[in-house]
Symmetry: C2
Subunit: 337 residues, 2 copies
Amino acid sequence: MAKRTGQPTINDVARLSGVSKKTVSRVINRSPLLNEATREKVEAVIAELAYVPNPQARALALRRNFLLGMIYDNPNAQMVLNFQEGVLDAIGGSEFALVVRPVDRHSPDLFDDIRAFIEQQRLYGVMILPPLSENDALAALFTELGCNYVRMGSATLDDDAHLVQSNDRQAVRDAVEHLIAQGHRQIGLVQGPEGFRSASEREAGWRDAMTAAGLPTGPEMLARGNYTFETGRDAGEQLLGGAQKFTAIFASNDVMAAGVLHAARSRGLTVPQDLSIVGFDDTAIAATIWPPLTTVRWPIRDMARSAAMKLIHPEAAADEKSLFLTEFVPRASVASV
Amino acid sequence: MAKRTGQPTINDVARLSGVSKKTVSRVINRSPLLNEATREKVEAVIAELAYVPNPQARALALRRNFLLGMIYDNPNAQMVLNFQEGVLDAIGGSEFALVVRPVDRHSPDLFDDIRAFIEQQRLYGVMILPPLSENDALAALFTELGCNYVRMGSATLDDDAHLVQSNDRQAVRDAVEHLIAQGHRQIGLVQGPEGFRSASEREAGWRDAMTAAGLPTGPEMLARGNYTFETGRDAGEQLLGGAQKFTAIFASNDVMAAGVLHAARSRGLTVPQDLSIVGFDDTAIAATIWPPLTTVRWPIRDMARSAAMKLIHPEAAADEKSLFLTEFVPRASVASV
DNA sequence: TTGTAAGCGTTATCAC
DNA sequence: GTGATAACGCTTACAA
């Protein structure tokens, strides 16, 4: 009287292999105290039936599921996708799955939306991408909801168990020092948006390098954008159209660097002969625009893998790598003076 | 003796509102045969407790879950992300969630991976993005696994219940006719990779326009790429370095168009004065390179929303919109001859 | 080493 | 209209 509706269950396996469901369960969960012969017998039946445990039933019995969430609101598609791939590196072959949740960080319902999402799906844990990750109130919300989380960011936003971070400040400092070593003295900055930790960290890196070299960092040396192409172009116009002369500009991300490139070109400047440009992110755009953009690459995929591991193994979360180093990527958008 | 571990359950609601759990269940599921007073009483308790039904328990009892899958292997990050957002448009506010699965279509384990993914997660349905969506054997696999699916593609790959499609052929024909109207006569084609339906559809559109205008479509007029920047550049080199002269080139996607642009520039050609270029996709790259790329935009987000709706409401899947029209986006990479 | 019974939180069946 | 009761597929006591 087996009602063969769809997939085989643990009962089918138990019946066919002549053991109890509990024994099958032990085989599935690799319990150490199991007769080898029994195990092999059961495994043979499992293979024959192509039995796969029902994750919903497991989730119910274990009072936890196998869903990792990823919350983002990001203008940088490549970064988000790289992150997704990194998470898959970590959960591939396991029973975990990745649930994504794009949100609008400017929505007044942001917190309510996220709360509903977490309460409804009862995720095992969530990963939060910048710039949302920089919001401490959001992290507090996850704690309140009893949902484990890992933040990805450009600074030490949280403790090691809840963070994967890059060293943006040092990375930008290195990049600007590279420009200085090439003879540049008037190096402009296109800042990221106000309130973004990544933006302030990158600005700090620029200041570090400039100040250490005794170069000017006054207000005429910088302009603000918000990580979009248009604002990068506008910031470029602002800098290049003022009284201050520039031989190089560091833009706080690649997209804005592309905007600066447009601004330069529309003013008749040639890059890199008349103006050197450096970006940040090493997104697809960097290698695709002309000239190819000198930039800074951060190991997003590795960071994502690590973030997922922290969630999957909370007991070892603090031991999992948290700080990830960036890599300077020299291309053709920089020339020496 | 309520063991208050975490979230409230249906039992808590039943006890506090003095009804059976079945009645609570009826309230949750909006059963029509319910005393209005009872409903209000229960709803008050639900609100007070902030009770949210456990999706894993529901999934177990209903023998179906509320997870929509999305399988992709795509070089185009923006498209994938737009699609994710479109799916969210459809499932936002509902109990459904989106599970993503990037895969490597060149992996020998592709089918096994996907099979394991489907069997393990028991998804409610999956959406397949191009180019994977063009693989009929894969669609057959989903049918075999009893998993509903919707394919996204550039041609009529399946019936309306399992497809959202764009009209690439007509779109390219329109774009090439635009070039012809601008006085172009030698219009090259950078094809997409062999075996891709989108590639053959776009090629057909180019042939349609050229043939209708009595223009040449011989082998010297085209070169093949595989949708990457490098292959686009190589194809551009091949076309521009041959005996045949070109005043315009249509590349089968934006990234390859960017490659052609590089190739043109490295040969000392100015775009669009010496060479007009048209792409396809309207990805971020299109607006970001210089000059901004004339291209074709397809309404990915709308397609994604429709795909998700087809899965959520299988009974009405064939009525949900299936064919989506593209939009020609004129920018600065085209000049008249 | 293995089995039995109870329970995870929900819905379906079928009475009342 | 509403409520016992038995599923759903699995795991954790607790025995044996």
